[in-house]
Point group: C2
Chain length 559, copies 2
C-alpha cells in the first residue's frame, strides 16, 4: 500500500453508528419517529429524534451500568418499532454488538446463532415471549429485557433475570453518560445468513462499513430531510437494508409499521404521506392488492419504492408506476450490508429506447454504487466482458462487503484472499453497466465451457401454451461436461398426445430466444416437479435422480 504525504485533516474522527442518532437528535430534533404497535397489542408512538436520541443514551448508560462491555454480543428479537430502532444505536454505542435475530427461523437455528455468537443478553418484544422462553431454555442469557408498552412481568422464571425496557430507559436517564469514540473497525451489528442449505453463517458489520453504506444508500435512494420513510423490511434482515440509518443521517421522518398486514401497510402509506419505502416483491404485491380491494387509485407521485430480494414481476412494477410511484430495483445480500447495485434508468443513454425495452432494463438489478467493485468471473476463472450476453459469477468487493464469515470454514469457499466475495449468483452486465442476474451458480448449467441459465429456459418455457410448469437442470454429459434436461408439467387441457412431436415443437419454440447449444437435449413429461420446503424447485434432487440420464441413455447431444 502506498504511503503518501501527511494530511492536515481530522482523519482520526471515527465513523461510529451512534453518531447518526446523536446528529439527528441535535440537528433534526423535531423530525418524527412514528411507531405502530397495534397488531402486536401495543399502541402508536409519535416520538421525535430529540426524544429518541436521549432514550438511546439512557439505554446505553443502563447497559454499561449492568456490566455490558465493549465487544459483548446482545441479541434482539422484535418487530420493526422505535425500540428496535433505538437498539441499533444504544447497543453499538457502547462498543457492544447488536445481534439481529430472524424471528421466522426455527428455534434450533436461532439457538445455533446465539451459541455461535455467544450472546450475553436478549432484548425481546412482548409479543414474542414464547419464543424467548424456548430460547432461554437452550441458551443461557445474563438477562432478558422485555420491550412492551404495558407492564412487564419481571418474575418470569422461564426467562431468568428480566428487566423492562421502559424501566431501562428511566434508570439509564439518571446515569451520567457520554459517548466515547469507538474504533470504527469494531463490529456494531451482526446478522446470520439463512441459506437454504447448511447452518447459518455470521456476518459482523463494522461501524465503518455501516456508516459508509448509509451514505451510499442515502444517495441511491435520494433520501432528504423532507422524506418520510416507511420501514417495511424487517430490522433483522441485513440491517433492515440500512435505510433507517439513512433516515437518521438525513433527518427524515421514519415510520415503523410494527407487526403488519398488507392492509395495515397501505393504510400507513397513505396516512403518513410516505415518500420512500423498501420491501420485497411479495409484500409490495400484497400492498398493491390491498389498494385494489379498497377500490382506490391514490396519487403516489411523491413515492419512491425500492424493491429487492428477487426480480420484481413486470405487472407489479406497472401497477405501482400506474399510481405515479417510482419503482427502483436494487440488489444485495446479507454479506453486502446489503446495497450492492441500484437501478435508476439513465435517461441520457436510454432516451431512444421503447417503453417495453425500458421496462426490461428497469427489471435488471442495476449498476453498482460507488464503493462496490463488481466483476463477472466465467467458468474458467477469468473475468468476462460486460457485453450484456456473457455470463459470469458476480464477485463483489468493497468497504461494506464481507472479507470472511465469523469463525466459519466456509469462508474459503466464498471469500478470496484479494477481498472478493463470491456471491453465488450468475449474471451479465450490459453496455449501460446494468447487472442482470440469471441464476444461482449451483443451478447454472456448465456446457462446453459456457454457462446456460436454467432460470431463463424455465421462464421462457412456461410461456408456451401447452406448459404449466417447467424445470431445467444440468445433467453430466460425457462430451460437454453438462447438458440441460427439461422437466415439463403439461396443462390439464393440453390435448396433443404425440410427445415426440411436442419435443420438436418445444425445441423450435426455444430457438426463438436461445442459440442451439443452449436448448435442452431432451424433455421429460412429468406429473409434478419436486419442491423444497420453501417452495423452490428441488433441483439438487432432480440432478441426483437423473445423474446418469445422458450417459446411460446414450442420447446424442444436439450440439
Amino acid at each position: 500500500m502506498i504511503k503518501g504525504f501527511p494530511s492536515t485533516m481530522n482523519d482520526d474522527w471515527q465513523l461510529n453508528v451512534n453518531k447518526l442518532i446523536d446528529y439527528a437528535g441535535k440537528t433534526h430534533g423535531d423530525s418524527q419517529v412514528v411507531s405502530y404497535r397495534i397488531l402486536q397489542g401495543g399502541k402508536t408512538h409519535r416520538l421525535n429524534y430529540r426524544t429518541v436520541s436521549s432514550r438511546v443514551s439512557a439505554v446505553s448508560a443502563q447497559l454499561k451500568a449492568l456490566g455490558i462491555k465493549p465487544g459483548d454480543r446482545i441479541a434482539v428479537l422484535g418487530w420493526n418499532d422505535h425500540r428496535y430502532f433505538e437498539l441499533y444505536f444504544a447497543i453499538s454505542g457502547i462498543g457492544a454488538v447488536m445481534l439481529q435475530l430472524n424471528l421466522r427461523l426455527n428455534p434450533d437455528e436461532v439457538t445455533y446463532i446465539l451459541d455461535h455468537s455467544k450472546a450475553r443478553a436478549l432484548f425481546v418484544d412482548d409479543s414474542l415471549l414464547n419464543l424467548a422462553e424456548t430460547l432461554s431454555s437452550k441458551h443461557k442469557f445474563d438477562f432478558v429485557v422485555v420491550m412492551s408498552d404495558g407492564k412487564v412481568d419481571t418474575t418470569n422464571q422461564k426467562l431468568g433475570v428480566v428487566y423492562s425496557y421502559e424501566d431501562f430507559v428511566e434508570s439509564g436517564s439518571k446515569q451520567e453518560f457520554q459517548w466515547e469514540d469507538i474504533d470504527e473497525k469494531s463490529a456494531a451489528t451482526a446478522c446470520y445468513t439463512s441459506g437454504t442449505t447448511g447452518l447459518p453463517k455470521g456476518v459482523y458489520y463494522s461501524h465503518r462499513s455501516l456508516i459508509l453504506h448509509t451514505w451510499s444508500i442515502a444517495q441511491a435512494s435520494g433520501m432528504n430531510v423532507n422524506d418520510t420513510l416507511l420501514q417495511i423490511v424487517p430490522l433483522f434482515h441485513a440491517n433492515g437494508w440500512g435505510i433507517h440509518m439513512a433516515a437518521a443521517m438525513s433527518g427524515s421522518k421514519v415510520v415503523f409499521p410494527g407487526r403488519y398486514t398488507p392492509e395495515s401497510l397501505t393504510e400507513l402509506l397513505l396516512q403518513e404521506k410516505v415518500t420512500v419505502t423498501v420491501g420485497v416483491p411479495t409484500i409490495l404485491s400484497g400492498m398493491a392488492q390491498a389498494l385494489q380491494k379498497k377500490g382506490i387509485s391514490p396519487d403516489l407521485s411523491n413515492l419512491r419504492i425500492i424493491s429487492g430480494g428477487s426480480e420484481p414481476p413486470l405487472a407489479l412494477m406497472k401497477t405501482w408506476m400506474g399510481y405515479g410511484a417510482k419503482f427502483v430495483h436494487a440488489y444485495g445480500a446479507t454479506e453486502t450490508t446489503p446495497l450492492a447495485t441500484v437501478n435508476h434508468p439513465k435517461m441520457g443513454s436510454m432516451s431512444g429506447l421503447s417503453d417495453d425495452v425500458l421496462m426490461d432494463y428497469k427489471r435488471k438489478q442495476g449498476y453498482s454504487t460507488f464503493g462496490v467493485d463488481l466483476k463477472l468471473v466465467g467458468p474458467d476463472g477469468k473475468e468476462v466482458s460486460h457485453d450484456g450476453k456473457t455470463a459470469g459469477e458476480i464477485w463483489l468487493r468493497g468497504p461494506w462487503i464481507i472479507r470472511k464469515y465469523h469463525e466459519d470454514k466456509r469462508t474459503e469457499e466464498q471469500c478470496t484472499p484479494e477481498g472478493w466475495w463470491r456471491s453465488g449468483d450468475v449474471g451479465t452486465v450490459d453496455q449501460f453497466g446494468y447487472l442482470k442476474i440469471m441464476d444461482r451458480i449451483k443451478d447454472v448449467i456448465k456446457s462446453g465451457g459456457e454457462w446456460i441459465s436454467s432460470v431463463d429456459l424455465e421462464n421462457f418455457l412456461v410461456g408456451h401454451p401447452a406448459i404449466l410448469e417447467a424445470a431445467v437442470v444440468g445433467i453430466p454429459h460425457p462430451k460437454w461436461d453438462e447438458r440441460p434436461l427439461a422437466f415439463i408439467v403439461l396443462r390439464k387441457d393440453y390435448s396433443g398426445d404425440e410427445r415426440e412431436k411436442l419435443k420438436g415443437e418445444l425445441k423450435d419454440f426455444l430457438s426463438k430466444k436461445f442459440v442451439k447449444w443452449q436448448v435442452p437435449d431432451d424433455f421429460l413429461f412429468v406429473g409434478e416437479i419436486p419442491k423444497t420446503s420453501v417452495g423452490k424447485i428441488a433441483k439438487r434432487l432432480l440432478r441426483d435422480q437423473y445423474s446418469d440420464f445422458y450417459t446411460k441413455s446414450g442420447s446424442k447431444s444436439a450440439v
Copy 2:
C-alpha cells in the same frame, strides 16, 4: 478509544480519490464530460467518463515514468476544464498531492505557496503561460506541463523542461499501469487559504476526507445519475467545493465552462440543460442579469443552485426562484473541504411560516450535514445554547475538517487539541438547527461579556433614509470592555444639519431591532469610510485610530 469485537467486513478497502473516476469510467462510461475552452482560445470537448478515466490512467502512468513519487507535490494552474478535472485523479492516483493554485493571487503569494509546499512540477493552462514564466523564475520546477488544445512550444526557456499534456496522455497510454491502494490518510490535494491578513495557510486534504466529503455533498445536493452539473466554482477554490467529485460518484454529466463571462455561463446553463450548479452570489447575480438583458424568462424548474461564500441577497434568491429554480444556501471554508452546513427548508417543521419568514430562514447558512460536529462557543469559552439568539463562535469538527495547518504556527490559534477548528465566524443556531452567521469574530464587539454583531448594526443602519454608508466597530471601554462606535456617511441629499438631534433619531431607529446595550454609544459623521484593498471596511484601521475614543472622551456609556 473503545476497541470492540472484530468485524468480518473489508475494513481495509481504502477510500481513494482515483477510485471515483475508475468507478465512473466502468459503470457510467457513457455519461458526458463537456469542456468549453472557447474564451481561453481553445475548443469545446465532448468526452465521456470512459475516455476521461483512461486519460487519467495515462497521465498517472506518465507521471510515474517521469519519476514522480508518492507524497510529491504537483501544482496546477488552470481554468475549469476536463484536464484540470483529470488531474484531481491522475496526480492523487499515484499517491502524489495536487496543489490547487489560485490564479487570482499575486505572484509573490503564489511563490510563497510553491516554496512552502515544495512543489516539484507544474501543470499550466496555455492561457496562463505568462504567470507560469514569472513563477518559474522564482521557484524551481523539475518540469512544466502545458495544457493546450494546440501545439505546445516545448523549447520555452523561461519554463525550463516543458511537456505537452496531450503528449503526456499519448505516452502514458502506452505504459503498463494499474492503480495501487493508497493509505487513505495520505494527502490527495492541497489548497492554501487566502485570508485578508497574513501569509496563506496550507490545508492538505486526505483521500479519506475527500471521499467522505463527496458522499456528504452528493447527499446534500441530491446528485444522481440523471443530473447535469455546471461547475462554476473554480477547481482551485477548496476542491471546487467537491461537487465535481460527487458528479463522478453519481455518474452525472458534468460541464466545465473554462474561462467564462456571466453571458457564457447562462448560455451553457440553457444549452446543456443543467440541473445542478454551484457558485458565489456575485456570479449568480451576473448570470441573472445576463438572462434579464436577453429578455428571456426560462423555465428552470429542474435546476438546483447551491450558493456559498457569502449570504445571498434576498432579491437574487427571488429572481432565480422566479424562474422555478431551487436556491440552496450552503456554508463552508477551505478548512472544511468545504461543505459544513446546507440549507434545505424543513417543510415538516416550517409549514406554518409565512413566505417572508421562510425566506429569512432560507438565507441562513443552514444545518450541519452528518459528519460535521458544530458548536457555538461564547465569549467565556463555554458552549452557548441553540436558541436562535445567543451568539457564539462557530467551532467545527469532523472527518473533513482540519486538525492543523501544514507546518504553520498559526495552528495553535485556530485548532484545539480535541480536534475542533475555530472558524472565526460568530453566529447563532435556531430551534430548527439553522446556523446564521453574524460577523467575523475579530469584528464582533465584546461588551459586558456579551457579543454584539457589527454587521447586523451596519445592515440595519443603511436602511435609514439619511444614511449612505455605515461602519460599526468595538472601541475599548473602561467599564464594558468594548462599546460600539458608529461611523456614518450621510446621503448627499440629506438636508438636516443638527447632528445631535440625528444621533437621538438613530438611537430610536436602532431600538426597533436592538436592545439598549447593543446600540452604539456614539455616532461619528464622516466624509468616507476607509476600505481595504478588496473593498471591505478597514475595521482594524478604524479601531486603531479611535482606540481611545471612549477613554479620552470620558463619554458615558448608554448602558
